[in-house]
Subunit: 266 residues, 2 copies
């Protein structure tokens, strides 16, 4: 059998109905498997590290497949990129041991959520950044992010129907929640050992409720404590969100445990 | 009469057949005038600083119009952006004296051409950057750019049919030609008192012929001297090019005269 291949993928989520293959919808996995079938002349199933939702972007999504033929990785890279639509690119292809599994071997992920306010954004920036009509309060945004790192039951930040799957249930550990801000822009970075479906967008939605003065920090604290009487956090739009990286080894900075959120300036 | 309004525009050129209004083609001016007609409930002609070609982007195009009704500039900005397609944004609207004319008052422009090589580009970067299969020779690219600043007859860098229009003919002064390079990317910046149709793309095309070893510097020198026996410089693709700024006052750095091209590192 040919060695398993691991791909790193970048996509603009705008025109995709998310990662997962579906009948009658343009998906990342669907386009990828079409290109693979064209290259190998037979169906080639793929496994992705995680399912990104419709409209969410990636510049470090990972997927693997078992090639039915021996084609050198550089040839696979070039052929796939020539078959794929412009908004989906294969950045890297490399052989991995058969024990590597894009989803099961992953130990965590990093996401970035981009915000802007004030001046109108040029179109290429508006594709991947949420524009707010008014400036958020950055002190409050930072204060909200500081509450997030740690091991928590994120049940109030998950889509219903996804609670309790697997042995971890809805408990996850967030190691990093950082705010970088300046010049009418802010980026929020989240690193953790796993994310529930819709979790990052709900964390951002909750932080924005506070930064825009619609909720108090105590409300976020209650949501973090799993308070069931509260409505769930609102979901921020998908186009601000990018899956930046899938970790297959725990980054050294995680060894110190969950870190207090930092605020940096651009 | 209501005061003339000046707009600063950003657009992703990918899906536009250039600036200038045409029957049966999606153009920047066409979309803009559709939005203006919707806002003012009557036709509103616009004048742009210059015509960008199909596929060329802008983040500082300038246009003016004479509004038939008094609507505050912030209202015009918001209304137009709500009517316009996502790939065309009005960044600024401000009143100007009636003597202001977007094209005739302009004293120069700045363009940026973006290159990349090596690693595959993520889709949002590939929209505005030309990808080369092999690294260009940056020393030669810089040497080619160093030959460009000054007052020259750029006839060999213009589209046929555009030679000799106006009192300047095909003579233009290029004040700045700078290369910024690093990490598999290079940006070329051009500032001048005017650009012939297709001129920047042909300057880039010529510089790439040299940087990719297909031509010698002496060939560029002969083209710059107007040598008619040579075929014209090849035209670099439009998607790498962005109109960054239209100048209505001469930048102070031009007072020193055309500058030797600099090479900077990212």
């Amino acid at each position: 059998m040919e060695p398993r291949l691991r791909m790193t993928l970048a996509y603009l989520g705008t025109h995709f109905a998310g990662w997962q293959k579906q009948e009658n919808a343009r998906t990342v996995q669907g386009e990828l498997e079409k290109a693979l079938a064209r290259l190998y002349q037979k169906p080639v199933p793929t496994v992705g590290a995680g399912r990104t939702d419709a409209g969410v972007h990636a510049d470090g999504q990972v997927a693997h497949f078992d090639p039915p033929l021996a084609i050198p990785p550089t040839g696979v890279l070039q052929a796939l990129n020539s078959f794929l639509p412009w908004d989906l690119r294969v950045l890297q292809v490399k052989p991995v041991p058969a024990s590597f599994h894009a989803r099961r071997s992953a130990v965590g992920k990093r996401y970035r959520y981009r915000l802007a306010w004030g001046a109108v954004l040029p179109p290429w920036e508006g594709l991947r950044r949420l524009w707010l009509p008014r400036a958020p309060n950055l002190e409050l945004l930072a204060a909200a992010l500081r509450m997030l790192p740690g091991e928590h039951d994120f049940v109030r930040f998950s889509l219903s129907g996804h609670a309790g799957r697997g042995k971890r249930g809805t408990v996850r550990t967030l190691f990093v929640a950082t705010l970088t801000a300046g010049q009418g822009r802010a980026d929020m970075i989240f690193e953790g050992d796993g994310f529930l479906r819709g979790m990052v967008r709900r964390l951002v939605g909750a932080a924005l409720e506070i930064a825009q003065g619609r909720q108090e920090l105590s409300w976020l604290q209650a949501l973090m404590a799993g308070e069931a009487s509260l409505p769930p956090a609102p979901t921020a739009p998908p186009h601000g969100l990018t899956l930046e990286r899938v970790f297959y080894r725990r980054p050294k900075r995680w060894a110190k445990g969950p870190q207090r959120a930092q605020t940096l300036r651009f």
